[in-house]
């Protein structure tokens, strides 16, 4: 692989610019769907882009008593983590740009960078809303992370590989894992919602309690980067779940249909429930989510052995 190709895949397609664009599109689809489910009209197609442009053009206010370097670095780090993770997943149904045995674990860690950065960003300021939000963000990280990982390990164990591209290829050749491992699919999808802090798991940024949670003090560029980062994570998360549980992603059309299908389900779930309190979220994940995922994993291991 020559240098030009690497740069191209990093900066333009399928990573980089293209990914940012698709992130905004997916955010719009999500917002529009939720709006329609709630009997609202919803935003126009360019609204997410307009939001980002507006935020980038605005002044970035650095509050007093924060660590300046950390304050500026964290949004960049969060976005970089998400963009790097994109290189290992089969975006648009193409082969991942980079691949090595065990990249599943690396990807999941890179995806967790976002929550970690947001938690740190909240803890960095002295704003009370941010501090409470940061606590909740990190609490939520500890609650969904393990079940989400366990849910994605199911297909990995069945295919006997920890390489995303191989699992993707294998998933395409066998019966869809959503049928053989339904529990894992549900846990993975709901885990993704927890990761992205979508309703009903939006306690970390519950606007009626703590304004905007950990990101309350962010404005302008920092906020824009965090938002793009979340959009990118939405795309990557959907790609991962679709590749693992919905029979793999072999071409762009499959990618579009499967990820959009997942997004419709997710938007439905978002509009169905009232917000869970953070203690209810933790309870749900550890009492139900983790146990179900573990039970399924045990069954898989026993059946294989």
């Amino acid at each position: 692989m020559n240098t030009a190709w690497i740069l191209l895949s990093l900066l333009i397609f399928p990573g980089g610019l293209f990914l940012l664009g698709s992130g905004l599109v997916y955010e719009w689809v999500d917002r529009k769907l939720v709006a329609r489910f709630q009997n609202r009209i919803g935003p126009r197609w360019f609204q997410p882009l307009a939001d980002v442009v507006k935020l980038l053009a605005k002044e970035e206010i650095i509050p007093q008593e924060v660590h300046r370097g950390l304050f500026l670095l964290l949004p960049v780090l969060a976005l970089a983590g998400a963009l790097t993770a994109a290189l290992y997943v089969p975006l648009i149904g193409f082969k991942p740009s980079f691949s090595f045995p065990g990249d599943l674990i690396v990807t999941l860690y890179l995806l967790s960078m976002m929550s970690l950065c947001m938690g740190l960003a909240g803890a960095n300021t002295v704003d009370r809303f941010s501090l409470v939000g940061a606590t909740r963000t990190l609490t939520q990280l500890f609650s969904y992370e393990a079940p989400f990982l366990l849910a994605l390990l199911g297909p990995a164990i069945v295919t006997g590989s920890w390489q995303i591209s191989q699992i993707n290829a294998q998933a395409g050749n066998s019966l869809w894992f959503i049928i053989t491992q339904p529990i894992g699919f549900v846990v993975a999808l709901v885990g993704l919602m927890g990761k992205l802090e979508l309703p009903p798991f939006d306690a970390p940024e519950a606007e009626t309690e703590i304004v905007s949670g950990a990101l309350t003090e962010y404005s302008g560029r920092g906020l824009a980067l965090f938002r793009i980062g979340k959009d990118v994570e939405l795309v990557i998360g959907l790609t991962l779940v679709a590749a693992f549980y919905l029979g793999g992603l072999a071409n762009p059309i499959e990618f579009l249909l499967k990820t959009m299908g997942l997004l419709v389900v997710m938007a439905g779930l978002q509009s169905l429930f009232a917000r869970l309190r953070i203690d209810q979220t933790v309870g749900l994940w550890w009492r139900v989510g983790a146990l179900l995922a573990l039970a399924q994993l045990l069954v898989l291991i026993l059946l294989r052995g």
Binding site: Q38, R128, L276
Partner: protein
């Protein structure tokens, strides 16, 4: 922004500017982690000097001023005032006027309760219910606009009667609207009673026992949800409630869930009462004459607003202007219930707990000044204004 206050407690401020509050009020919750250990309330951000303003206007002008005490339950303020003035003037409005007053009051109650349902659901992060209930609330808003010409400040009352009439066309439209709303209200009751995530946020949250409710002086649906049988429409019927009695709706649990159930059941009873009024609408005049100068005297006028008991004290010295009008709104009575049951709950429950009493900030913000015998003085409008400017400086 300092991190801690002088007592070393971690205080989360909600308001005066906060996404949870659509009106300014200030609440300080001392928290340990997520658990609330103390709560304090500070009001007065929307003090508008309406009571003082009322003394400068004549009896008729005051109807329009007092309707603007509240942006949600405007009609009930005008009703309380006109009933009081009519009592002072020894005039009784004709039966048809009383029935129409009652009808508009009940429609207003429906609109207020549906609005509250949406707000409370939004505070709990259930935006779908918020959007749906507000969409359906438009039905009753449209009805009110059709009857009175306005969506919020209906200006239905005049001294001695009402100034709007109902015809067959309007009655048919109201019936049609009520049928739709009744069906939707049954649906919302089902959602409230069965949705697991919603029950998780409302059941056993903010529980207030009957004894507590009585000690704290709770009024309205907040008190009724704790089992206090307190509803002026039943206890001391006014306007058309002699003719068209309402049912007293209570619950015993006293938690947030009970408040939802009580309010929705009240809506259902409103539909029944309105239909009864439409069935047996008395004929006759819409208004009687009321003198321009009201005879000397003072009176208390009590009505049941959507949020609870509303009290007006009206004093006349025989002129064409009132000498004193004192308004006591129901929101003010219910604040004590929030601060006393908040302790021990999660921070996440606070917005719903605040919304649970259906607070109306601009209603309850008026100045209280305790006169001691040694420093008694009369304040002029200019003094008050200056005091207000200095106070917030």
């Amino acid at each position: 922004m300092e991190k801690q206050d002088s007592n070393g407690k971690f205080i989360v401020p909600i308001g005066p500017q906060h996404p949870a509050l659509k009106e300014p009020g200030h609440f300080e919750f001392a928290v340990e982690g997520e658990i609330v250990t103390g709560a304090a309330v500070r009001l007065g951000y929307v003090h508008r000097g309406i009571e003082k303003g009322a003394e400068a206007r004549n009896w008729t002008q005051n109807i329009y001023l007092l309707e603007r005490v509240c942006g949600i339950c405007s009609h009930i303020h005008a009703t309380a005032y006109t009933l009081g003035v009519e009592k002072l003037a020894n005039v009784v409005a004709p039966p048809r006027a009383q029935a129409i007053r009652t009808l508009v009051a009940e429609l207003e109650r429906i609109h207020s309760h549906l609005l509250w349902l949406g707000v409370a659901a939004h505070e709990g992060g259930f935006d779908t219910l918020f959007m749906f209930s507000w969409r359906d609330r438009e039905t009753v808003m449209d009805l009110l606009e059709m009857i009175t010409g306005n969506r919020v400040h209906y200006s239905t009352n005049i001294l001695g009667g009402v100034k709007i009439d109902l015809d067959d066309e309007k009655i048919t439209a109201i019936r049609k609207g009520l049928d739709f709303l009744e069906e939707r209200t049954h649906h919302y009751l089902k959602v409230i009673n069965t949705d697991e995530t919603f029950l998780g946020r409302t059941r056993d949250v903010g529980t207030m026992s009957r004894q507590q409710a009585e000690e704290l002086g709770a009024v309205g649906p907040t008190a009724r949800a704790s089992g206090v049988p307190r509803d002026l429409r039943v206890e001391a019927p006014y306007a058309g409630y002699h003719e068209f009695p309402v049912r007293l709706i209570t619950a015993t649990e006293g938690d947030l869930h009970a408040r939802f159930v009580v309010r929705m059941n009240e809506c259902l009873d409103c539909y029944r009462v309105i239909r009864e009024i439409l069935d047996r609408l008395p004929g006759g005049e819409l208004a009687t004459r009321v003198p321009r100068r009201i005879p000397e005297g003072e009176t208390i006028s009590r009505v049941e607003a959507p949020r609870g008991e509303l009290v007006y004290f009206i004093k006349s010295t025989g002129g064409d202007k009132p000498d004193r009008i004192k308004v006591r709104t129901p929101s003010l009575c219910n604040w004590g219930t929030v601060t006393s049951v908040a302790v021990g709950h999660k921070l996440a429950d606070m917005p719903m707990l605040l919304a649970g009493i259906d607070p109306c900030f601009s209603c309850n913000d008026r100045m209280v000044r305790v006169n001691r015998p040694d420093q008694s003085q009369t304040w002029s409008w200019e003094n008050l204004r200056q005091y207000g400017i200095e106070y917030y400086r």
